[in-house]
Amino acid sequence: MRLKLFFLIGLLFQFPAFAGAVHADSAPKEAPNFSAPDLSGKVQTLSSYRGRIVILNFWATWCPECVRELPSLSAFAEANKDVVVLGVASERNPETVRDFLSSSPVKFPMIIDATGDIFVTKYMIRALPCTLIVDRKGFIADRIFGAENFQSTGFREKIKRL
């Protein structure tokens, strides 16, 4: 009987997991600064974008949900040039990302975090995909775990409010 009860409780708590992206609002926290070259060789420094909204998208080629949301993020970046979109790929070999992007290009800079310096040490990301929205003052305004539809009204409203 007790086992059945635990199982039912477990099932109930599974429903949020099937709801798609989970939005976790957090108290404002300054986004840790970083400087890293993107695939074109340009050094991307987060603090240089102070005054603009920045979307940091943590992903990996081996993460199906990450790959699924990239096209909508790319379309968002293309349509919203006032917003900075930076991809952070946790990949050991940059060529893996280059090969992937050669067939599925995106319209935003891509940083390769091979050592975990940004993913682990600076941001302690706990699941992929993870999207952080950094406001104009450099604070993390929102964290999104799971695939997001960056073309949705809800997401666009979220950006508009900042």
Binding site: L3, F6, F13, V22, G116, V120, R126, A127, G146
Partner: protein
């Protein structure tokens, strides 16, 4: 029974985010979530040096070997860091970690949503 309860508790605690953010490790009837330090098995893994041996044996990146040990077994304990390091690992690296535990006689239970 205890293992079933722990697996169910894992399902509940992992329900917020989809995907296995950690795994259950067990030996001789004792179980612990990888990264937790408040269980007998977790304390034994650190005190006996067994976790160090397992991590050294696993073909995983240096940040994982050193970081996981440091953030599980030392005064720099941080469950957030452990989960982040684990999330950073590729599926193959995660499997290699599970295999390293299995080679030392541990049972590994994964919880997926």
């Amino acid at each position: 029974m205890k293992k079933t309860v722990l697996v169910l508790l894992a399902m509940i605690s992992l329900s917020i985010g989809c995907g296995p953010t950690t795994f259950l490790v067990g030996k001789d009837g004792s179980y612990t979530f990888f990264g937790r330090m408040n269980t007998t098995l977790a304390k034994e893994l650190c005190a006996t040096g067994e976790l160090r041996t397992i991590l050294d044996d696993a073909t995983i990146p240096a940040i994982a070997k050193d970081g996981l040990f440091r953030h599980i077994c030392t005064s720099e304990y941080s469950r957030d860091m452990v989960l982040s390091i684990y999330a950073f690992m590729t599926p193959e690296e995660k499997k290699e970690l599970w295999r390293a535990f299995a080679r030392r006689g541990y049972e590994v239970n994964l919880v997926h949503c």
